[in-house]
């Protein structure tokens, strides 16, 4: 039993106004549970929905009231059943009362854990807060919320609220929204509650932190301003990349009947002499060799330890400098945060004073850090003020690692002004660029900032966990396509681009790009990878298609192993030029013939026809180059159903190929004799 297990109740609004975001709610909640299943198996979760058609909770039996609140799952250790329940949330029919749900959730937590303070207790409320709560029997709504909040604080329950803001222009009662905002704000004043507002489905997916990590300090001690003035601080990591999970190697060698097979793979390392591979050297007989010029110098770890750089644990201020001296791109690593020692009021004031003064004067502090005793290096970094806007969170510093002299590579680049005039944008082009930069605004005033890192989920991890869930039900499930909501992270938002369509078009029109004609085809690269599972349909699929055609010639030639839809000619040429296996040529010709026939047969208008002809020309050229049958490709022409082409009759195809009538007759004869 994990000591630090968490009890969590999800309160989900399923009322009619929530229906449009429920798919995202389902996704984020199941993601939360899935991660718990992997990283925190002992956590316990319950689900309550409100705004539902029926009523099913203990309180309604015990004291009455609390209608339309359904306890979907009682608090229990996380399992697959909870994930499934979350993926099929019932759609409710009435406007939900979130306060009822909060009370039910609280009641569940209190009944389950009583007063034992084991672990953490948390309530997570997801609602749009558009519907009024019922008037209490006595007192005001404010009083009621306060009472609940006091209870919550007494039981040490944390609350997290995610409010989904409707799009502007929808008819919502602003008065109710304001009242709800006020009431929910009361919670955060009285208890440790947090409220976040989200507007778009994408940020809703990022609003709930699905991985719960209890932070650990990397340093506790003094921030030495001078030997005479030391401020007590704690240092934590502020950002840390959540890595793709490390999967275990799997062995399928065990017989399928063996129930107790671990399927594990052991990795063994052996160290062998380069000159005599039969000689195995035990690991402790190895010694590290360091290069010094052409020779390798063996140095034992004892020697290193005796002489290596051993700084004392400390965090020392070197001085302050102008913020403009530290350019943003110098930041080297993930970010740490310095906060004053909790509970130490004087230190908090000192940090706050310095941070605010730094902000005012636009200065930053340069510090030298040795986090631990025995650490073999020092870290040079910059402290920037991180002022808090809320009363309850302290001011702090962000710490970023700066490069040393050795880490900066001083390469020279030409000045833009030295480029030829043909590379300089004209005034009109500059204007178009200005407009583009202004109009494609992801953080328009008065609206939610799109793709705010704090609210943007990692699309790859989302996809992995989604696939994991699918696989747990069906082991051979294919990789699912990237979710529509997540596509807004990897691809431009169609709405934003269509809103500023004229600007985008003007920009594209004022500039011209073309491929460098001097380059040989084979030297071109620009690998065009297709995203897996992409459904290239509609609006934005088209642009990527168009692009694919544009840069088609630059496809990685060596890799073509089948003839695709986008660039058949290039694929064909690539296949023909593959020399690793003679079969490629035969395969290429066969595939190409099929492709052309397909194109011709499935063609509705004349647009595919030209393409088919191009393919045909390529096919013929390829065949001649390979000195194969001179009639190659002509067989295919027979299949051109000439009546269906208004624009180009089949006859033209022959001309196009430059095959004269005489030869044609010869070929016809050839084919006929061949058939017989």
């Amino acid at each position: 039993m994990a000591r630090n297990r968490e009890g969590l109740v999800l309160l989900l609004d399923v009322g009619p106004s929530m229906h449009r975001v429920l798919p995202e709610v389902q996704k984020i909640c199941s993601m939360l549970i899935q991660k718990k299943l992997i990283y925190r198996k002992f956590d316990e979760v319950g689900i309550v929905i409100f705004g539902a058609e029926d009523t099913d909770n203990e309180l309604t039996i015990e004291v009455g009231g609390y209608e339309h609140v359904v306890v979907l799952r009682n608090i229990k250790v996380v399992d697959g059943d909870i994930v499934e329940a979350l993926q099929e949330l019932p759609r409710g029919t009435v406007a939900g009362d979130y306060l009822d749900a909060v009370v039910v959730g609280m009641d569940m937590l209190i009944k389950k854990y009583q007063l034992t303070n084991k672990g953490k207790k948390r309530i997570c409320l997801i609602t749009d807060a558009q519907n009024p709560i019922k008037d209490p029997y006595k007192g005001t709504k404010d009083d009621q919320v306060s009472t609940i909040a006091v209870q919550m604080a007494a039981h040490g329950v944390r609350m997290e609220t995610i409010i989904v803001r409707g799009r502007l222009g929808e008819d919502i009662d602003q008065r109710i929204v304001d009242e709800n905002d006020h009431l929910l704000h009361l919670f955060s004043e009285k208890t440790s509650a947090k409220t976040v507002y989200v507007e778009s489905p994408t940020s809703l997916l990022g609003a709930l932190r699905t991985r719960d990590i209890s932070p650990v300090t990397i340093f506790r001690g003094d921030l030495e301003i001078s030997p005479k003035l030391k401020i007590k601080v704690w240092v934590y990591k502020k950002t840390s990349e959540e890595k793709f999970p490390t999967l275990k190697k799997y062995s399928d060698k065990a017989p399928p009947t063996d129930k107790y097979a671990t399927h594990e793979v052991k990795v063994d390392y052996e160290y062998k002499s380069v000159e005599d591979p039969s000689k195995v050297i035990p690991p402790n007989q190895r010694i590290k060799g360091y290069r010094y010029g052409p020779q390798v110098v063996p140095i034992s770890s004892v020697e290193w330890d005796a002489f290596k750089f051993k700084p004392e644990k400390s965090v020392k201020l070197l001085g302050f400098t102008n913020a403009s001296n530290i350019l943003r791109h110098y930041y080297m690593k993930d970010v740490n945060i310095f906060i004053a020692e909790p509970g130490n009021a004087r230190a908090a004031i000192a940090v706050s004073a310095l941070a605010r003064a730094m902000k005012e004067l636009n200065k930053v502090a340069i510090v030298r850090c040795v986090w631990r005793q025995g650490q073999g290096s020092v870290v040079l970094g910059v402290l920037t003020p991180n002022l808090s806007e809320k009363d309850k969170t302290p001011d702090s510093f962000c710490f970023n690692v700066l490069p040393f002299a050795e880490d900066v590579r001083e390469f020279q680049f030409p000045s833009f002004s030295n480029f030829p005039a043909s590379w300089q944008p004209s005034e009109q082009q500059q204007q178009a660029a200005d407009n583009l930069v202004m109009m494609l605004d992801l953080a328009p005033p008065g609206k939610e900032e799109a793709l705010l890192p704090e609210f943007t989920p990692n699309p790859i991890l989302e996809r992995f966990y989604h696939h994991l869930e699918l696989k747990s039900k069906q082991p051979d499930a294919a990789v699912p396509p990237l979710d529509r909501t997540l596509k807004k992270i990897t691809e431009p938002d169609p709405q934003l681009f269509s809103e500023s369509k004229s600007v985008v078009e003007a920009f594209c029109k004022s500039f011209e790009v073309k491929e460098n004609p001097k380059l040989k085809k084979s030297t071109r690269r620009l690998l065009q990878e297709k995203p897996s599972g992409s459904d290239d349909e509609g609006g934005y699929g088209d642009t990527s298609n168009a692009l694919a055609i544009k840069s088609d010639e630059s496809q990685l030639l060596a890799k073509a192993d089948k003839i695709g839809d986008l660039t058949p000619v290039q694929d064909f040429e690539a296949m023909m030029s593959r020399r690793d296996n003679p079969d490629w040529v035969a395969k290429a010709i066969k595939d190409m013939e099929n492709k052309i026939c397909n194109m011709v047969e499935n063609c509705k208008g004349g647009d595919n026809y030209c393409k088919a002809l191009e393919c045909l020309v390529a096919l013929r050229k390829g065949c001649i180059l390979e000195q194969l049958l001179p009639m190659a490709g002509t067989k295919t022409i027979q299949r051109f159903p000439s009546p269906s082409f208004q624009t180009l009759p089949g006859e033209k195809a022959w001309q196009f190929l430059g095959i004269s009538c005489i030869k044609r007759a010869h070929i016809d004869f050839h084919i006929r004799s061949h058939r017989q």
């Binding site: 604080a153 005479k228 950002t239 530290i326 080297m332 702090s396 990789v479 691809e491 491929e515």
Partner: protein
């Protein structure tokens, strides 16, 4: 770079063209080197600015011509010639007489050559031990802007942490290099297998199996390009939106003509409007949301300090950002904030300890410098390891200046009152203190308890194994030894400690 160990002198009046010969020999030596990838440079040290000055007439013209031709041939073969002129006391070295032509200097450059060459020589003498990197494109990428319009960009790694360099495992007996062989063994059957192509993740008490292809397909969420998503004001890029070193982006017209023009236009607009671009970088290696921040060129007297271009900054996702500030704000108490007086005193302090011309590149990494110094000393079997200076230590003298001390004292007084000394004496408080008290109490307790055993006797009679782990740990705690490990490990640790 190779040193040429032959000596030549120009004898005036002789018909021998030793400069020509020197170049010829140097070139031959360099050509002998097998590696085609190595950089080859001839360093030409001379104090004679006009090698053929003493020769007159056609012979001079002929010698000049052949020598220049020799130099040009060498340069055509990819050998660069660097001239390091050594000044003579009585006269200045005049490049334009002969050498400007030899190393291919233009008229304007020749004027600037001398001061920079002097600098070069100076640099060589006390050079920072620094790994040199050739300017290399990390990747070529395309930036898709909109409607199929895309431009070509090159990325460069301008800032990367330098490591002490790769190590090579050697056999400590023979000092011969070793190679590592990895083998995979099935834990169930014990059979040797190839590198497994299947990986598993335990989930819902089951092993869910993924193939390597599936995993790479999951990771491929976008084309391998940079896709422009939009722009944001620079204020949206917070200091904590950072994960790894940035990557420099510079346009190229090599394959897509017109790229540079578009890049310059966007670069200017972004600088002028104080905006950065948000893009999705879909490389298969590290797909991420990135910020493209435009950087204007900065030039000072010494040359280009910051090249013009954009920096790609890797942005975190929601689960990468931790809410530390809120972690400690559980109680509903307001946190103390500095008053205006505190802030004013802090501002005074900041003004006093202001580093005027700080630049990030001014400090060498003391650990790395130490490493190189040690390596050199051990490699050359020097007696002593030279001392390296830690430049990163604060300037104690400066801090002890009267003005600074006064500002610090005032700030201290305003924030801490006269209680500063009390606070610094109590080592931490709250949780940490409790834990350390507990630890101390446990150690004392263990010392008392462990006195009840006759450890030497137990060890001699081999009775330690009859004791429980808890009992063994008493000894270890009392003697401040680590208490981790299995019972055997504990026993052997006790025995080692007793010296048995």
């Amino acid at each position: 770079m190779k040193d040429i160990g032959c000596q030549y002198g120009i004898l005036s009046g002789s018909r021998e063209n030793s400069l020509y010969n020197a170049l010829w020999v140097a070139q031959a030596l360099l050509r002998k080197g097998s590696s085609r990838t190595a950089r080859t440079t001839i360093l030409l040290f001379t104090n004679e600015d006009d090698p053929f000055g003493s020769i007159k007439g056609a012979a001079k013209a002929d010698m000049t011509r052949t020598t220049l031709q020799r130099a040009k041939d060498a340069q055509d073969l990819g050998i660069s010639i660097e001239l390091l002129p050594l000044g003579r006391p009585d006269q200045e070295f005049n490049v334009s007489l002969f050498y400007a032509q030899l190393i291919g200097l233009e008229d304007d450059d020749a004027a600037q050559f001398m001061p920079s060459a002097g600098q070069k020589l100076e640099d060589m003498k006390d050079q920072l031990r620094k790994q040199m990197f050739a300017k290399r494109i990390v990747r070529r990428i395309t930036l898709l802007i909109a409607n199929g319009l895309s431009i070509e960009l090159n990325t460069y790694a301008l800032i990367r942490p330098t490591t002490p360099g790769a190590i090579m495992w050697l056999d400590s007996v023979t000092n011969r290099p070793l190679k590592t062989e990895r083998s995979f063994i099935c834990a169930d059957t014990g059979a040797l297998m190839h590198e497994p192509t299947k990986l598993s993740q335990s989930y819902k008490n089951e092993n869910i199996i993924f193939s390597v292809e599936e995993l790479s397909e999951i990771k491929r969420v976008s084309t391998g390009h940079l896709r422009l998503l939009g722009f944001k004001p620079l204020s949206c890029l917070k200091d904590y939106h950072n994960l790894r070193p940035s990557t420099f982006v510079f346009p190229s017209d090599k394959e897509v003509v017109g790229s540079t023009r578009i890049f310059i236009a966007l670069h200017r607009s972004m600088l002028r409007l104080n905006r950065f671009a948000v893009a999705y970088c879909g490389s298969s290696f590290h797909p991420r949301l990135v910020a493209l921040v435009a950087q204007d060129e900065i030039i000072n007297a010494g040359g280009q300090v910051e090249p013009p271009g954009m920096y790609m900054i890797y942005l975190p996702y929601t689960d990468d950002v931790r809410l530390i500030e809120e972690f400690h704000s559980e109680s509903n108490v307001r946190v103390p904030r500095a008053t205006d007086d505190h802030i004013k005193k802090a501002a005074d302090l900041i003004k006093r300890t202001y580093l005027k011309d700080f630049s990030v590149c001014q400090f060498a990494n003391p650990a790395l410098q130490r490493h190189y110094a040690m390596l050199q000393a051990l490699a050359l079997e020097e007696e002593e390891i030279p001392d390296t200076i830690d430049e990163t230590l604060p300037d104690e003298e400066g801090m002890a200046r009267l003005g600074v001390v006064k500002a610090i004292e005032e700030f201290k007084l305003s924030v801490y009152g006269d209680k500063y000394d009390e606070e610094s004496n109590s080592v931490g408080n709250g949780k940490a203190n409790e834990a350390s008290k507990k630890r101390k109490a446990a150690a004392e307790n263990a010392a008392n308890e462990s006195a009840n055993y006759d450890w030497a006797d137990l060890a001699d009679n081999g009775q330690l194994k009859d004791l429980t782990v808890a009992e063994l740990k008493l000894y270890l705690t009392a003697h401040n030894l680590p208490v981790s490990g299995k019972k055997e490990a504990l026993i052997s640790r006790i025995l080692t400690h007793m010296g048995k």
